[in-house]
Amino acid sequence: MMQITCPHCGPRAQSEFIYERTVDSVVPLDAAPEQAMAALFSRTNPRGVDEEIWRHTYGCRAWLVMTRHRVTNEISATRAVGPEALP
């Protein structure tokens, strides 16, 4: 099991978190149809590091972005997203 550092709550067990999708697959509201299709239906899916959006569902319920290696499960960074992450 991974231990994930929530930007708001600190280190927590992975069982509190749920994976959503990768950062590059977020569909902007004003996306053109081709752009939306590409974001929704294709993934880099690297056998290496990718940036993923997870949610601390069974904790503070905030979204976070996690940089994780998909073979070793090593998490190199987590950061907050949403209005509270703005400067």
């Binding site: 099991m1 299709m37 294709s42 993934r43 899916n45 993923e52 070793t72």
Partner: protein
């Protein structure tokens, strides 16, 4: 290739079993093949076999980075069935199921296919309506499906918890009697031996590291054993589809996740069929060796790790124990994980890619093993003719942009909600 037979065994018994030969050669790669298949799992080997057998092609290579059948072919729960509701899916899997029934004879290799019945459990009125609907859809296309009453389920599987206060009460089921399980390794080995006997080169420990391009078209592959030219190249690498396709600059509608399964110590026969609950997502069957094989949900986040998460394993086992409480006395002896290529509608992708001469067979999610013969047959047709077989035409890579997804569970584009 010498045929395996009872007489041959008997003759061997008198000669100290000295007659055994390797079941396939270990050739050096040639400089060029008409068709190269990347991936020596069941699907890749079946493709090579049918390319040789059905289409008469001989100059074919299967490139495998490890050993054949060492990926998902050896990491599944060996369940074989065709009980899907949507027509393109049940047509494809039914075609495969028919091939399963003749496979041991076809390959002269005992794949230990055991059609002991594949049963879905219904836990509520809604479940029973859903199962009846699925069974009707199958029967309309001539595929066997029988709705079972609660008593029939209890008679077939006496160890199920049928009590009214069971954690997951059982109201009935839907059985496909021709479904069952098979021996996973034997499927890979049988197809390998068959393909090899037609002259197909099965090249192990040969990892593809890149594609050779002429303009946009693929004209060969770079491997750890040198450059190999090819007329057509077929990707058939299951969970690593995204990784290999990326070498050709493609982004696929696929996310790789871990799917785990586990087996207990061997016991006398106690599970008679393949018990499945789609409401729970739990699969229970008993191997011919006696071990109880469990499977459950994928781990639901992207991973290439080939090792699972204890939390998910616990969930699968908890469901199994709730259904069959007697299993609580058994010790778990082994668990394993495969990297599944979860496609964005839950259905496979078999067909052309935007890159000329490059084809893809992947996106099988957690349901690839049962499709092995159908996948091989249709992919061989596609690779030999450059056009899809009618059975795999609906499963083209461009169906997502056309809005023609084949979404059996109706759960939308996110693999982790499947």
């Amino acid at each position: 290739m010498s045929r395996y037979s009872a007489l041959g065994l008997l003759r061997g018994a008198l000669n100290g079993q000295k007659h055994w030969q390797p079941a396939w050669r270990d050739p050096e790669p040639k400089s060029h093949y008409d068709i190269i298949i990347i991936g020596g799992g069941g699907h890749g080997l079946a493709t090579a076999y049918y390319l040789a057998k059905v289409h008469g092609l001989r100059n074919i290579a299967v490139l495998e980075k490890g050993w054949i059948g060492g990926g998902n072919t050896g990491r599944n729960t060996t369940i074989v069935r065709s009980n899907y509701r949507l027509e393109p899916l049940h047509n494809l899997f039914e075609f495969g199921l028919k091939l399963w029934h003749g496979m041991s004879d076809e390959l002269n290799y005992n794949v230990m296919f055991s059609p002991r019945g594949a049963m879905f459990l219904g836990h509520s009125d809604a479940d029973m309506v859903k199962l009846a609907e699925r069974g009707d859809a199958m029967r309309c296309d001539g595929i066997d499906a029988d709705l079972m009453t609660r008593d029939e389920v209890a008679k077939l599987e006496p160890l199920l918890d049928m009590s009214r206060d069971a954690r997951f009460p059982i109201q009935g089921g839907l059985i496909q009697r021709r479904g069952g399980s098979a021996r996973h390794d034997a499927v890979a080995w049988g197809y390998a031996r068959g393909a090899d006997s037609f002259g197909v080169d099965i090249i192990q420990k040969c990892e593809v590291t890149g594609f050779v391009r002429d303009g946009n078209a693929v004209v060969g592959v770079e491997t750890t054993r040198g450059r190999i030219g090819a007329g057509r190249v077929g990707i058939c690498v299951a969970g690593h589809s995204g990784h290999v396709a990326a070498m050709a600059g493609l982004k696929l509608p696929v996310e790789s996740q871990t799917l785990q399964a586990m087996v207990t110590e061997g016991v006398k026969p106690m599970i008679n069929s393949v018990i499945m609950s789609q409401s729970l997502h739990c699969y229970i069957s008993q191997s011919d060796k006696g071990g109880i094989v469990f499977g459950g949900d994928p781990d639901n986040w992207p991973s290439y790790a080939q090792r699972g998460h204890p939390m998910v394993m616990e969930g699968a086992v908890a469901q199994g124990l709730a259904l069959v409480p007697a299993l609580s006395r058994l010790r778990m002896v082994r668990t394993w994980s495969g990297v599944t290529d979860m496609s964005f509608d839950g259905a496979p992708i078999i067909g052309e890619t935007p890159v000329p001469n490059l084809y893809i067979n992947g996106g099988w999610c957690y349901g690839g093993f049962k499709a092995t013969p159908a996948s091989g047959w249709t992919y061989a047709h596609t690779l030999a003719t450059g056009k899809p077989h009618p059975l795999n035409a609906p499963f083209s890579l461009d169906r997502f942009e056309r809005g023609a997804t084949i979404d059996e569970t109706g759960s939308g584009p996110m693999p982790n909600s499947r």
